[in-house]
């Protein structure tokens, strides 16, 4: 039997050290508040070390970095339970207090129990959440296909209308910058669809000219997207990447504590 260093180190860092910290911190709030910082420091350092150190215990298939990803899934599972409890508490409270929109909470709770019940039924009867042995959909599958997915698609479809209203607001030529945006957007839109050819349909003598004009617009569109737009996007991406690296470094060094609810000196 070979000794696997990775799990031992993980248990030491994420179980033993925090437990010791909690015990020692019973009489020292300062020490207690440092425990999450240490956990964040370890959790941040391990994937970075795994980037450069290809040792099996660190970055292998069952190494510390991979195991931490697995732990995240387990942790998220428990956090999801916490979320469901929160949904139940908030909505039951709303219904009990007859808050504004309490009826929506009733609909939500019915949806939660019916869908959850259908899922549990599939698990208990060992049918699962897909199809019955005769090929018909299980109750869970039926709910997903005939209620949930159409509702999802409806919300997603709203995007088209919101895009039009946002574009209308963004493209109003209020100042020089907005005018440049309007002109660029107009050129890109004309270049992306064969509008010039469409306009030339009633005039056969203009077909050839319209086709070449459309091609030229296509090239201009590509240039706008690749050169000015691409350059601006690269600038944002480089800045954001450095910002993210700097933020990550602050988290790893324990300087950035705002995400833990800790302020200066805490």
């Amino acid at each position: 039997m070979t000794f696997n260093l990775g799990p031992v180190v993980l248990v030491l860092l994420f179980a033993v050290v925090p437990i010791i910290g909690i015990v020692l911190g019973l009489n020292s709030p300062g020490l207690r508040s440092r425990i999450p910082i240490w956990v964040a420091v370890f959790a941040g350092l391990i994937p970075i070390l795994a980037m450069y150190i290809p040792k099996g215990f660190l970055s292998g298939q069952t190494g510390m970095s991979q195991r931490m990803d697995d732990w995240l899934i387990i942790l998220a599972g428990f956090a999801l339970l916490l979320g469901i409890v929160n949904v139940l508490q908030n909505n039951f409270k709303k219904v009990a207090r007859r808050d504004s929109g309490w009826f929506f909470s009733v609909v939500l709770l019915i949806g939660l129990f019916v869908t959850g019940g259908a899922g549990i039924y599939g698990a208990v009867t060992k049918i699962g959440i897909g199809f019955n042995p005769d090929g018909s959909p299980t109750p869970f599958k039926y709910l997903t296909d005939w209620f949930f997915q159409p509702l999802q698609s409806t919300i997603f479809a709203l995007l088209a209308f919101f895009m039009a209203s946002a574009a209308f607001r963004a493209f109003r030529a209020r100042n020089v910058e907005a005018t440049i945006l309007l002109v660029a957007a107009g050129l890109v839109m004309v270049g992306r669809v064969p509008i010039i050819e469409l306009l030339a349909v009633p005039f056969p003598s203009l077909h050839a000219s319209a086709a070449s004009a459309s091609q030229a617009m296509g090239k201009l569109t590509e240039w706008i997207m690749d050169v000015p737009n691409g350059a601006a996007q690269s600038g944002i991406i480089i800045g954001a990447a450095l910002g993210a690296a700097s933020m990550a470094l602050r988290v790893i060094l324990g300087i950035e504590r705002g995400y833990l609810g800790l302020g200066k000196g805490e």
């Binding site: 970075i48 980037m51 450069y52 150190i53 290809p54 040792k55 099996g56 970055s59 292998g60 995240l72 998220a76 956090a79 999801l80 916490l82 979320g83 929160n86 949904v87 508490q89 908030n90 409270k93 504004s100 929109g101 929506f104 509702l151 999802q152 919300i155 997603f156 709203l158 995007l159 919101f162 895009m163 209203s165 946002a166 574009a167 607001r169 963004a170 996007q233 944002i236 991406i237 480089i238 800045g239 954001a240 450095l242 910002g243 993210a244 700097s246 933020m247 990550a248 470094l249 602050r250 300087i255 950035e256 705002g258 995400y259 833990l260 609810g261 800790l262 302020g263 200066k264 805490e266």
Partner: protein, 391 residues
């Protein structure tokens, strides 16, 4: 002897053109075979290198063989075209000593085009026993490692400068200045502040930055006694956000104002979350809406709904794909790095400001390298891109 030679020659000349070629009596062997563990990997790979013979007949290939304990019998592994000179075996077990052999083989093609005969030198050139193992450093990431070390040194140096008390200038960020204005307006009209920390989990650095900003927003709402609503899509973000808001109210000495339902969980589904939050915006009409974190397709739906309610909207995202939607619909947008600078900007902690300065120095160096690279490649002196490429 001459009779046999004549007989063979007659047979050769009598044979059809595309009949299997008779293997040459002695194909030249590859030379200088070296087998070693592949450097800079996680193990499970052995790399072979050899020198091809000077003159090989057309269609010649190099056959790679492997002998594995305990049987130690030669097993064909693969064939590579002549001139390759290298082969990586990725099917090895770490710690097992293998022997490798290479020999020249010649494929013969019949009239139908199928490979019918593979003639080869009988005895391969054999390597020393070799075993693979995991290594301590990924060589192909040396450039990234050096850049990271330099970046860390610059950041730590800047933090040290900030700690020494030197004044650090940070440019005005209108979106962050507007936070207090937005919360102030919500307080005036007696409506709530809504903060959406994106839809990603805490393993996304933008969410971490957003939750840090949420702490500052929560402190302000606690100070002004304004109601706060933080709907969440991700359960881990929900747990973190709740702790941050609770701590903020405690730090401001107003734990009585904190209610558990301020930070609430909605659903894990993207569009169900969008529908629920949009409906809440429409019904409850918050006076200020913060959309800070990582958003996807729901960004425009949420921002447009918020806009239609007349709320002051402050958005922030580092990913450029959704930024145009926020710019078009929100009053203020934190673009790219501004999102990560928010925590330092709002708290004015010298240590955090120092890291922002270090980040700007690193950006300056990158711009300089980009300019030098463009000049060098334009005048055909040197292409820097192979040195900057990471794997």
């Amino acid at each position: 002897m001459n009779l046999i030679g004549l007989f063979l020659a007659a047979n050769v000349f009598a044979a059809p053109i595309d009949a299997p070629a008779t293997p040459p009596p002695d194909l030249p062997l590859p030379q200088n075979l070296i087998a070693k563990d592949k450097p800079g990997d996680s193990g499970g790979a052995v790399i072979l290198r050899w020198t091809d013979p000077a003159s090989l007949p057309a269609g010649a290939e190099i056959e790679v063989l492997r002998a594995e304990p305990p049987a130690n019998e030669w097993q064909p592994l693969d064939k590579v075209p002549a001139g390759t000179g290298t082969y990586t075996d990725t099917s090895v077990k770490d710690g097992t000593a293998y022997r490798y052999g290479v020999r020249t083989s010649l494929a013969a093609v019949d009239s139908t085009g199928a490979v019918s005969v593979a003639a080869s030198t009988s005895a391969p050139v054999v390597s020393e026993p070799v075993s693979s193992h995991d290594n301590w450093f990924k060589i192909e990431r040396t450039n990234s490692f050096v850049a990271s070390i330099l970046f860390v040194i610059i950041i730590l140096g800047s933090i040290q400068v900030a700690r020494s008390g030197k004044e650090i200038f940070i440019r005005r960020i209108p979106g962050l200045n507007a936070i207090d204005e937005a919360i102030g307006r919500a307080t005036e009209v007696g409506k709530k502040v809504m903060y959406i920390p994106g839809i990603q989990s805490m393993d996304e650095i933008q969410t971490v930055a957003s939750v840090a900003i949420l702490g500052n927003v929560a402190r302000s709402t606690a100070r002004y006694g304004t109601d706060l609503d933080v709907p969440n899509k991700d359960p881990l973000t929900f747990a973190s956000a709740r702790e941050v808001v609770r701590s903020a109210y405690l730090a401001e000495g107003r734990p009585d104002l904190f209610r558990e339902e301020m930070v609430n969980y909605v659903t894990y589904d993207q569009f169900a979350f969008t529908a629920a939050v949009s409906a809440r915006m429409t019904r409850e009409k918050p006076a200020a809406i913060f959309l800070i974190g990582y958003f996807f397709a729901e960004s425009l739906i949420l921002a447009e709904t918020g806009q239609s309610t007349g709320a002051i909207q402050i958005a922030g995202q580092a990913d450029p794909t959704q930024l145009p939607f926020f710019v078009a619909t929100c009053d203020y947008t934190l673009i790219g790095e501004e999102l990560y600078a928010a925590s330092a900007y709002l708290t004015r902690e010298p240590v955090l400001l120092g890291s922002i300065r270090g980040q700007d120095i690193a950006k300056g160096i990158l711009i300089l390298i980009a300019i030098i690279g463009v000049v060098l490649v334009s005048i055909h002196v040197l292409d820097l891109s192979p040195f900057l490429r990471t794997q």
